[in-house]
């Protein structure tokens, strides 16, 4: 319990902190926690602070485009300011019109040709980055993940490893000597969604009846935030996303723990009984039990996640209870129904879920 209190306090304090201080605070608070907790990652998903290969090549291209557009801006803006200042009408009025100039073929040719050249330069620079990202071939050692968008949460599957999880994606950091990028196959179970973790890669949409793909090759351990970037319905705003970039050892440890089937203690048998006798199992799965629903997140290792409801709330006892009791109070419009349990059953089910480590 004390462990969770620390996390709750940390979450409360994190919200109050400025973006700059939060990273440092996170290091201090979570340094004692397991290897896949926050590292030094800043919680600001700034596209100009990339931590992964595709985001970095996009970042370099953006700086190039920004410099060119800034130069164009300075030139045209100066001309505008000069014209406004220099040619303003001044009293006294002499009643005469200025020289009537109808145009100049040379000048108009000049301001046609120069933009054409700029466009060509920008195009080739852009096309190079497009091809380098889209034509990348997965090297040996690539981690394969399937991401499935749901209203309003993320399902992550590791087909080669037999792991299913939700909302919090774990991937290994990639070492240039021994590359372990992650290639993600994207699809949707219902409406359009978009996978966007700005510090790791640009966004790619998840579209029903269509398979998309993207890849990430992170070079810094940490937790990176993102969220759904294509309007997908009522709770589009709280379809949040976390990617934990773990050290190779941390990632192996996480895999090992995720591969185990749920092994709840006997003390939560009452909660388990209620869970398995109510509508919970229509949507949720807990491996090794009769619960094999597929509409909601897999709960086998629920307590290994730091948040619930796709990042809408920290994974605490109170929040978990509140979520089961009335999902709308955390995430109005979420598809999970209120379970209408009495206080004793609610406490028992919560205790059962908290045993799913």
């Amino acid at each position: 319990m004390s462990h969770r209190n620390v996390e709750k306090i940390a979450n409360t304090r994190l919200r109050k902190m400025s973006a700059r201080g939060a990273g440092l605070l996170a290091v201090l608070i979570f340094s004692g926690r397991s290897c896949f907790a926050f590292a030094q990652a800043s919680p600001v998903p700034d596209i100009f602070k990339p931590a992964s290969t595709p985001a970095e090549s996009i970042h370099r291209l953006s700086l190039f485009v920004l410099i060119i557009t800034a130069l164009i801006f300075v030139v045209v803006f100066s001309l505008l300011v000069y014209a406004v200042g220099k040619f303003r009408h001044r009293a006294p009025e002499d009643g005469r019109e200025p020289p009537q100039v109808y145009g100049s073929n040379q000048m108009e040719l000049a301001w046609t040709v120069v933009p054409v050249l700029i466009v060509l330069v920008l195009f080739f620079a852009t096309a190079r980055v497009i091809h380098s990202i889209q034509q990348a071939v997965p090297p040996p050692g690539t981690i394969e993940v399937t991401a499935i968008g749901h209203q309003f949460w993320w399902e992550f599957r590791y087909p080669a490893l037999g792991i299913v999880t939700a909302n919090e994606l774990h991937i290994p950091v990639s070492d240039p000597a021994h590359r372990t990028p992650t290639f993600i196959t994207l699809s949707s179970a219902d409406t359009d969604h978009s996978f966007w973790v700005p510090q790791l890669a640009g966004k790619t949409d998840l579209i029903p009846n269509r398979i998309n793909s993207m890849w990430i090759e992170p070079n810094e351990i940490g937790m990176y935030v993102g969220q759904c970037a294509q309007y997908c319905g009522t709770q589009h705003a709280k379809m949040l996303l976390r990617v934990y970039v773990d050290s190779p050892e941390g990632f192996s440890k996480w895999i090992a723990s995720q591969k185990q089937i749920a092994n709840p203690a006997g003390s939560v048998a009452a909660g388990r009984h209620i869970f398995e006798k109510t509508a919970c199992i229509n949507c949720h799965a807990v491996s090794g039990t009769v619960a094999d629903g597929r509409f909601g997140p897999d709960l086998t290792h629920l307590m290994s996640r730091e948040t619930i409801a796709s990042g809408a709330a920290p994974n605490t006892h109170e929040n978990l209870k509140l979520w089961i009791h009335s999902p709308d109070s955390i995430k109005p419009g979420a598809l999970m129904p209120a379970m209408n349990l009495n206080e004793r059953d609610l406490e028992a089910v919560t205790a059962y879920l908290e045993s799913l480590q």
């Binding site: 996009i58 019109e97 109808y102 108009e108 933009p115 640009g202």
Partner: protein
Amino acid sequence: MSSESIALTAAGAPSRPLSDLLYSWVTTVDHKRLGILYILYAIFFLVIGGIEATIMRIQLIVPHNHFVSPQTFNRMFTMHGTTMIFFVAMPVLFGFGNYLIPLMIGARDMAFPRLNAWSFWLTAFGGLLLYFSFVGGNGLYGAGSAPDVGWFAYAPLTARTFSIGHSTDFWTLGLLVSGFGSIGAAVNFVATIVCLRCPGMSFGKMPLLVWLNLVMGAMVLLAISPLTAAQVMLSLDRFLGAHFFDTQAGGSAVLWMHFFWIFGHPEVYVLVIPAFAFVSEIVPVFSRKPIFGYPVMVAATVGIGFVSFGVWAHHMFTIGMNSYANSFFVITTMVVGVPTGIKIFNWLGTMWGGKLQFKTPMLFCIGFLFQFLIAGLTGIMLGAAPFDWQLGNSYFVVAHFHYVIVGGILFALFAAFYYWFPKMSGHLYNEGLGKLHFWLFLLGFHLTFDFMHIPGILGMPRRIYTYEPGRGWDIWNFIVTVGVFFQAVAILIFVGNLLYSLFKGKLAGNDPWDAWTLEWSTSSPPPEYNFASIPVVRSRRPLWDLKHPEDPDWKYE
């Protein structure tokens, strides 16, 4: 030249009962009255769309705000977008086109006056149908509600499974109906400009505004059709069980995107070309010089028109097109920058060496030039596909297109309002209030839309009703919302100025700006028949020729 007018005008008999006056406006086929109806209708919806935007901004002023529910917020951004594009921008531009085109080409009315009236009332009915959804939206399913699928209504969110009730149907039918209105108006524009020009006015001697409206009319005909087709297909999906966009039965979500954006991108130019048209008329008059490089301006406009039909998938860089398709749409998108750049330089060339008079319309034109430059440059950033993978669907995009639509189009529209108000009403507006409106609106605009770029760069997606604290977005959202109130006050001053000046403004006379196009040769407001005798022109600036017989334009053209 018909500077005299016959005494009996439509507004001439003040003693008539109100019902007669209303009847005469409802049954009118006069292009000027229809133009004014379009404009008033658009101002009405501008205020409604503005209120919807304000509700959204209040909700976003702090993280985890509870001002409105997520459902309400989603309806607000859907209705705001739909209203502003289809029931503000389109009608107001049709309104100005309707009013000005016959006057500028020396005609007595549009080619098809009754089609003109029919188009206006269809558009008006489309808007009312959309807003009726607030009452009847959910049909049998609970209380009424407005559509909440976003203004581009991506499939499959519009399918029966995800949009229960009738709110999406109101959206579909509202746009379908107003789309027919738009097509009627566009047919009229093209036919009028091609057929009704006064003697001497060859295509090369039309005012630029007329040229640009010709291009706009042709683009409407081509662009609205795919939208109409898509709305019909969506209705078939929803009512007759077709599966064009119903992904759960094998339909295609991407098909809708293609249909929508092959309408949606040319639509941007349908809106911005008339804005270019206003600037191309107003900047020369207040610089006291003819437009710089008329033939190139026409060519650039036609070029923009053509290229704009080949860029639609830059709205779809994130849907997983292959690298060759992405590269194709990068180059077409960036090519649009060339003719647009030519235009900006030619407007600067028009100002260069002139005697600039900073009346309110000119101030708005200079604001337009500055903001449109920035909007174009952020457009280039978004056109670089990988940059768009980061910025697309973020607040950066929202800031970018509001820079185009508010900073560009709306500023040009305000310029047009002030410039032609004396012609339409017969009275001068109040210059002090006009300038106050300009400076307040400029301040509010930049507070809102400059700072809106930043949360996009910091990873804030659009269309979210709330956001997490501690992501560096709070302060920027706060500033953005503060700017909205400056804009709201400025709009109130604008409406107040027009109303005040309508009754108390000084008489304008025929030609308050010492301008050069034909509409200034007739009385203010013009009589129902526009010109007592049809004018004959010899150059692009017939009134210049009249005022400077020693140095007429036709010697040089």
